[in-house]
Structures are given as C-alpha cells and as structure tokens.
Symmetry: C2
Subunit: 602 residues, 2 copies
C-alpha cells in the first residue's frame, strides 16, 4: 500500500524539543526563530529528514510555519488545518494562529522589540519571504541572523538520512521531447534575454528538463536536487553521481555535467553574466552565493514549458486515465454493492480503491493520499482518514473520494461523490450536488478566447452556487504534471489565477460544496486545453477543454429538472463516452453496473 492511515504522532516530545531549541537560540543570541514546513526544494512533500516543523511542533499538515521566541511560540496554519492542528500540537506551548488573519511576520511585528534578533535559515526561505522579513526588520529596527546551520539539525539527534533513491529514465516515447531538445530550447530563451544561466531549484523542473524520475518523496516521482542551466543548453546537475547509472546518463544526453551536491556553492560563486532565478521559489541561500554578477528575477522557464504537454504526453494522459477510470469504475461498482452494508469503513474504501488501481499492474504510486470521507467527514475539504477518525459508511450518507494514481504515462486525480443507498440523501444534498454539477459542466464545456486566464474561467464553475448564496473555499482547478506533481503551475483556475490557459495544459475541474457537520460534495475531472474549431468569427482563436477523467457522475444525486437542455446533453454525452471507453476494460459485473450508471437522463 502507498498510503497508511496512522494517527498523527503524539506530541510528548515537543516540549523537550522546544526547550532544546530555545537553549540553542540563547547560545546564538537569537530572540526569534522561524521554522517553515518547506525545505530547500519548496515542494509539497518533504522527506522525513526535512520534517523540521513536525519534529518541533507535532504538526503534520502539508503547509504551515512555526515561530519560536524566547517566551512565546505559535504555529500558523491555513483554513484546512485549523481544526486538525490542536489535535497534533501541544497548545500549552504553541498558539494556533489562522495564517489568513495573522501571518508569522505580522505576529512577530507585535512581539519583537527594537534591536532584537531573528534567526533565518537562508536555505529554507525564498527570496520573496526573506525580503518581507528584511522589510519588517527595517520597520522595527530588528537584526536578522542568517544562519549557516539550522539549529534544529544540531539538536535533532535521531534525524533520518536524506533519501538517495535511484534516478530512472523517463523515456522519450512518454515525454515526446528529448532532454537535449528541451535544454537547447530553454537555453535559447535565456540567450535571447541576454541571460547567461538560470538556477533550477525545483526538483519537478529538473525531472521534466532531464526526462528523469526518482523516488525521494511520496507521491511525486522526482529526485531532490538542484541544477544550473546555461544559455548554451549545458546543464550542471548537483546530485550524488552514484544515484545515476550509465544507461540513465546516456538517456539524458550530452552537455549535462553531474557534480556532488556540495559543489553547488562553488559553482554559484563562479557564475558570470546575468543569472536568472525565480524569487517566489528560490531560497535566499542561492542568491547569496551568486557573487559579483547581476541577478535577474524571472520565472523558471521550465515551469511554463512543462505545463504545456506534448502530444505524446496527452496521449499518455489519455491512456493513464482510461486505465485509472476502469479501476475507479470497478471501485464504484464494488462500493455501490457493499457500501450500504454498514460494514465498510472509510479506510476500507480507500484501501479498496488503491487495490483496484494496483491491479492494473501499472500503478507506480498514488498521486496523493486518498481523501475518503463519508457523511460529516466529507465536508472537511482536505480530510485524511486515520484510525482515529475512521467512520463506517451508512445508508443515506454522501461519500466523497478524491484520489489519483501515478502511472509512467500520466498522473490522475479524480473526485466522485456518491450516495450510499438504502436511505434518502441528506436534505439539500441533491440541490447542492446539482449546482456543483452545473458549475462543473459550465467549465468543462466552456469555449474561450486565447488569452483567457483562470480567474475569468473560475466564475463559470461558481455561478450556479453563487446564485443560491453558496460557494466553496478552495480553487476550482490546479495544473497537473505528466507522471510528476499532481499540483503544478503556473496555471490555475481560481479567484486569483492570472495565467492564461494554453493548449496542452492539464487542469482539474473540481467545484464543490461543503455543509459542515453534514456532508461534502466535489465533482472533479481532469481536462486538457486544446484549440477549438471556430465555427464563429474566423479571426478569433478559441480554446476549449477535453475531459480526460472517465467515471460516471452519480445520477441519483441530480435534480434533472434543474438542468438546462445543454447541460443535460453534456452529461449524456459524457456518460456515453465513459461507457463506450471503459466498458470493454472491466469485468461483467462492473460492465452491467456501468450501463446503469451511464444511462442517459430524460
């Protein structure tokens, strides 16, 4: 199994850890120290060796930051974790602060006095964040101590080793472009901007650029490493050479030079000309090591190139989604038969879903820990079931499962919300489900001019909920990698998505509705952007989406009378496509269930 359901670690050691940290702070003359969840790679997943926030505070969420002063301490978390954090964190030591209301710097601004010192580990904080700390320090006349070593690493006695998994080739027949070609192309963009080199500090961008994968963290198949791309296309890769075998080295191609990880500081110091780096994701440490030459702030050019999938990658995504869809349909059929028995728990269901995916024989990992929530648990947007929260499915429950698989040819991410039969659904559930579905359809069926961004499109998915005085407090869609991170930029469909959609981008479409303490609804497909044949004004370049995900949407939760004719047609067409494609791949029983689940409405 790729997922465990352990309860968060108990917090008995955190008092001791904080005491040790404060002692080290005192020895170093620090009045405050900031402990982010991120490591130097600024990714969503960090290896156990870099779980400093969890070690110090007990907090195991995927985003957060702690600040410790000589007398006070706080953990800052977003809306998803406000309820969960106090279960994991000793609230006698740490105040739990909603980060949207008070960020760590606003908090520090109140607590710090003139001439006090803040400690920062420059490897863990991006240029943008460090810049904000510097502004605070100026305003309040504080000192900043940029630490050569992280104090936590000195006192963490049983700190695990960093992962050093074998790097594997991601074949050109799946990537659709050679690494050499990608490097030459991005190198050329640097040359055109008169920039000599670009730092590549995000492991997923290195994985994309070199057509390699790794296994250093859960769910995202990359190798933690840094690199420098030169305008000529040369790439200097800082990673233990023992992790790359001869075959993989050959696959990567010419003009890639592998150096031990600790050689990067010397390499940074030697850079000449204009050096490009992305201030939102690059730790301050890197910029501090670029000496005597000009630094230019700009997005990592790999990010936009990686977002627009090649035809080969889209072909792979379709194959992965067909395979994944068949597994999911088998699961949904099983769930429909056994969910109502009262014997199936959320953990059972998550295990079963993973088992069906594993039976494809192609599953490399889950794309993320499955969200398996029934009844009130479904209303917790980022619910992760544990033995402590586990709940049996009951007739009349809504059950929400958000899950995905990592396959060599593609990454999947799908959410379905179904009725556990035997009793009617909760009051309001059918109305809300229908509105969420109408939002999903409006976005799925949208045509829009080239240049349209995610903020503009986001409205389509929300308008039906807005009309009823409802909304959902998360984005409508995120970018998805190709056998890489299930969350990738630069595009997103959300109230703040300013990047334009472009052909080849894969995005999720996942409006939802959450009735706290009662039920949660989310309907999520992945879809990719393609050029639309324009039957209208020829001079306008229009784009549209094509759905990748293949699984029925629960007809029992739809108020047919609230659908427009166009919405009804979209749904029937989608279900016909699901049936036509998935049925040949599943067992008889699932096939029969699928026929019923995909029946046209009206």
């Amino acid at each position: 199994m790729f997922q465990d359901f352990e309860d968060p670690k108990d917090t008995k050691n955190t008092a001791q850890h904080v005491k040790l940290l404060r002692r080290t702070m005192a020895e170093n003359g620090l009045d405050a120290f900031i402990v982010p969840r991120e490591d130097a790679f600024q990714g969503e997943y960090v290896p156990p060796a870099n779980e400093r926030l969890k070690w110090l505070t007990g907090f195991g969420g995927s985003a957060g930051v702690a600040v410790v002063t000589t007398r006070q301490a706080a953990v800052f978390v977003d809306g998803r974790y406000i309820l969960q954090a106090p279960d994991q964190v000793d609230t006698n030591i740490f105040e739990i602060v909603p980060i949207a209301e008070t960020g760590p710097l606003k908090w520090l601004e109140k607590k710090m006095r003139k001439n006090q010192r803040i400690g920062l580990d420059p490897k863990l904080h991006t240029l943008d964040f460090a810049g904000a700390v510097e502004k605070l320090a100026q305003r309040k006349s504080l000192d900043i101590d940029y630490l050569a070593d992280n104090p936590i690493d000195r006192i963490w006695v049983d700190r695990p080793a960093m992962p050093e998994t074998q790097v594997t080739a991601h074949p050109d027949r799946l990537a659709g472009r050679t690494s050499f070609d990608k490097r030459r192309d991005i190198g050329r963009q640097l040359a055109e901007a008169d920039q000599s080199a670009m730092l590549v500090t995000q492991p997923e961008n290195i994985a994309w650029l070199l057509n390699i994968r790794g296994n250093d963290v859960p769910h995202t198949p990359f190798a933690l490493s840094f690199g420098i791309l030169r305008a000529g296309g040369r790439f200097d890769w800082f990673i233990d050479p023992a992790r790359i075998d001869t075959k993989t080295r050959q696959h990567i191609g010419d003009n890639v030079h592998i150096h031990a990880s600790d050689k990067i500081s010397a390499a940074l110091r030697k850079l000449k000309g204009k050096v490009r780096l992305e201030p939102e994701t690059t730790p301050l440490w890197f910029a501090a090591h670029v000496k005597g030459t000009e630094i230019v702030h700009g997005e990592d050019l790999c990010t936009a190139a990686k977002a627009c999938k090649t035809k080969t990658e889209i072909k792979g995504a379709k194959a992965a989604h067909l395979r994944d869809g068949a597994a999911l349909c088998r699961f949904l059929c099983w769930l429909d038969a056994y969910g109502r028995t009262g014997k199936i728990s959320e953990i059972d269901a998550a295990r079963k879903a993973e088992a069906f995916r594993a039976e494809t024989g192609k599953l490399r990992d889950l794309s993320f820990d499955t969200i398996s929530g029934s009844g009130p648990n479904g209303a917790i947007v980022h619910y992760r079931v544990t033995h402590a929260t586990n709940r049996r499915l009951r007739p009349g429950d809504l059950y929400l499962i958000d899950s995905g698989g990592q396959y060599a040819d593609g990454t999947t991410d799908v959410t379905r919300t179904v009725l556990i039969e035997g009793r009617p659904p909760p009051k309001g559930a059918i109305d809300a489900f229908t509105r969420v579905l109408r939002g999903h359809i409006a976005l799925a069926a949208a045509r829009f001019p080239t240049g349209t961004n995610g903020m503009q499109l986001d409205t389509l998915a929300r308008a039906p909920l807005w009309a009823a005085g409802q909304d959902f407090d998360h984005g409508t869609g995120h970018g998805v990698g190709s056998y890489l991170s299930v969350h990738e930029g630069p595009q997103r469909i959300s109230k703040g998505g300013m990047v334009a959609m472009a052909p080849g981008m894969i995005v999720s479409n996942e409006p939802g509705y959450y009735a706290t303490g009662r039920f949660g609804i989310r309907i999520e497909n992945l879809q990719y952007v393609r050029a639309a044949k324009n039957a209208g004004d020829k001079h306008r370049d229009m784009l549209e989406f094509e759905a990748l995900t293949l699984a029925p949407i629960d007809r029992r939760l739809i108020d047919k009378s609230a659908l427009t004719a166009d919405e009804n047609l979209w749904l029937n067409n989608y279900h016909a496509e699901v049936l036509g494609k998935v049925k040949p791949l599943v067992d008889m029983r699932t096939a029969k269930w699928l026929e019923k689940a995909c029946r046209p409405i009206r």
Copy 2:
C-alpha cells in the same frame, strides 16, 4: 441641441502647424516632442483651449497621442480610431500607428539616437508616463527636457481662452452627504495613514468632494481646477474666486480656502509631512513642485468613496432613469413608426432622442455624444455620426442607439438595438442578438460573494458569445457618476477589472456583437450593486445588481427557443417592470406601443 454633427475639421493648417512646432523645437534644441490628447486634468473631455493634439494633427478622437521628431511624425490611436484617423490627419506628415502594436515610446526607441533630447510638458504627463519616458531615456542614453512652457501654446496664435463657467452648488438633498462630512472622512483616512495631505487633481473628484458642479467641458458637469486636501479636512481649492458666488461658497461649508489658480505651485512647495498623490492620474509637474518632503503614491481616496453612491444618490439615479426611460420609450415608439419610411436618417434619430429627453424639462446635457448607427455603421463601436457618414434607416436594418442624459439627480447611459421593420433582419442577427441578451441577463441576474471583481463577472456576459466562437472587443461595464462623468472608476467589468464590486456602485452592463460591414448589436442597462438577501449559507455576504435603466429590449430579435427558463423569466420580469413604471409617464400612443413591446415571451 447639446450635440452637433459637424465633420471633423479639415487638415489644411496642420502642415503649417507642424512646421512651426519643428522650428520652435529647433530653437529649444529638442529632437522629439510628445503631444498627448490629455490636458493637465487627464479627463475624457478637454476644453478647446487644450485641444493641442487636434490643433497640431487634425485628429479629433477622444484618445490619442502624437510624437514629432525633426524629420518624422506619428499619431498613435487605439482600435476605435484606426479607420477614422486618416480622414482627419494629413498622412503625408503623420504616420498613423495602432497604439496597441506600437506605443509612442516603443516608436521613439527606434527613432532616437544617443544623446538626443525629448521634450516633455510636465503638466500634461502623469508620473507613470513620465517614469516610462525616463526609463527609455536611461536605456537609450537620451536627455529629457522638462519644459516650463508648452511650445504649442507659444505658436498657437488663435488659441481659445480657458473656460471659466460659473460654479454651482450640487445640493445636499441630491448628494446625500455634505461636503464637510466627506472632507472630514477622507481627511481622517489620511490622518490614519500618517499622511498630511492629498493632491486632488481630477475635477470630478473635486466636484464630488465639494458638492459642486460646473460647465467647463461638454457632457461632464465639473469645473476644471485642482485642490489639496489636508489630514484635518481642510481643503485648498485653486480656482478663480470670481467663479464662485457667496451662496455656493456657503453651501460648500467651512474649512475650504479658495485661491487663484496660479497660487498652487507656491502651495505645493510649502507642503510638509507625507504627501499622497496618485501616479496614474497626477501630472509630473505636481510632484516636481512638492519640495523637501516625502511623496507617497496611492489612489486618490475620493475615487473609491465617490464610486459607492449614497442612498440619496441611488434614489436620484432611479428618478433620473425613470424620466430618461420614459423619454427613450417615446423615442423607440416614434422610431418604430417612422424608421421604416426610409426618410429618417441617423442624425434625425439622434436629434429626436435628444428632443424627447429635452422635453422632460430636466435635461442638463447629454452624458456623451449619441451613437446613432444603422446597418454597417452600427458595427463601428464608437461611431459618431456626422453629415458625411449620415445614413437613412432602411427596413431590415439593425439600428443601434447608445445615448444618455445628464440630470441633476443622475447620469444615464443606455443602448438599445432594434429592428427597422419591413424586411427580415440580416442573417445571423437574431442568433447574435440572443447571445448578447443571454450574456446581459447572466450579468444582470448574477449573485456573487463580496470581494468579487469585474474580471470575474465579465466572463458571465461573454460566455454565450464565446460558445459560438464570438466575442466583443470592449469592456462589459464601466462605472457611472452621479450627475458627473459617465465613465468613472475605480470599478469596471472587463477582462482587466481587478477592483471588487461594492454596494452603491453604478456600472453599465453592455455586451455586444459587431459584424463588420453588416450590423452591430449592443444591449446596455445601468445597474447598481446592492447587498443580496442570502437564502443560502448565512456566513457568506452576497451582492447582486438591480437594473436602473427602463426600456424594452426588442422582442423581434430574440430567438425564444434559445433562452433557458430562467433567462425567459428574467426578461419577462424586466419587461413587466418597465411597463409598470414607464407607462404612467408616457402619451397614449407610446403606452400602447409599450404594452406590445413588453408582452411576456411564452
């Protein structure tokens, strides 16, 4: 009549004017000189005395800029004026450049050589624009000469005088707040931001702040003047004191000090503390005169306050729209009877519309020159009919009229597109009209959470057109003043509208579709933002619009089968409201016509 239909002035003198300008430039050692359409007030309308661009180039459009070098010259215009500009401008002298492709600075960057000098009149260019020129100068090693006098003013022998119309009181019973109260409130905001003073350089903000009006330019009832608001609420107003009579002075209230216009430079030099100014609208000249103290960039606080109308102003807007709607319905009834005769021209129609408005006895001005376009002329988005372009309405034409009135209690702006009966409409017109209407309804009927901005809402008005591969190349909605400018910020509903809607804001809702050379369609109502009663999730604050404009939408151009049940219901409700409110105010013949025009569909 408030509108004339004269052809643009001939261009016979421009050769002479350019020659004179080049001689003056040579005397001053200038290699290039920039002539914007704007004057120091940066508004949409400029008095004849400040029509420097028109005097130099012949170009009479409402936006544009010219650049003259020793040997070359160009006029930069946006998409609206690309076709019109060559009729007005001598293209042997001036190149006509689409500003979206090449701005004046990009053009200059190509033409200028090292150490050459650009002349700028610092009174005419905003800080933002001047900053861009300075960057260009740095990049290309150019010199900038900030001129104490505009060379054009020296050579323009018959330059008209500046207008000095009488300033009138805008009564508190229409404004809903006293000037004293507004000044105290904005002054308090300054104090809270630790700012000592704010420059108010936009005449509409002075008109709002002081509850006064004027008549210095067409269509926007303000007095051209500048002011300085202090943190304590004191206002220093730089305007000829002879323009303000004792009664008006009393109306404005205490703590307003009137100085002759030429005293402002001395007053600016004396400012102390942090001085706030808006770099997008404040000419460089102002900042250059603030000496030895700190300048803080920030929006003019009047703009946001002015945008959110008081209850009294909304009441006034409703009264103005009812009166205006009755006049417009009389016009539409007349048009329906006589448009088909083949005898009515676009100018006749525009005159008639103005006459019906004038017959209300309350019309102070038009809010802008009426756009009266039939057939192919309707497809020209900012069409202004002249004797040269005038065209008779013919059966089967679509006729588009975009017009509005200035009344003491409110400003109106409405567009209707109607079929001239007798022949069927052009192919595609009914489909397009129905899509435009569906977009209009989607926006008019939208509910949305507090915080939603114009970019998010814009999508609703476009989605039906996008679905057919169509779009329109203008914004969906602009803010509208209260007996002030028909275009005001900060909010707009457009692909770039980043300001959130707030209760009391008046915005237009005007999607369109333009088939070049064939027909144009636009359906425009004004609507205001109000809190929505939330029957959904109580913790969400929702907003909605209420339509102000009252005039039927042409049923003959609607494909009823393409409307959803909700859209149909909206239309029938709207027409019932129009009939119920307007019918009591019109003659028998119009009342009968109105009954037919407002019949429910289905």
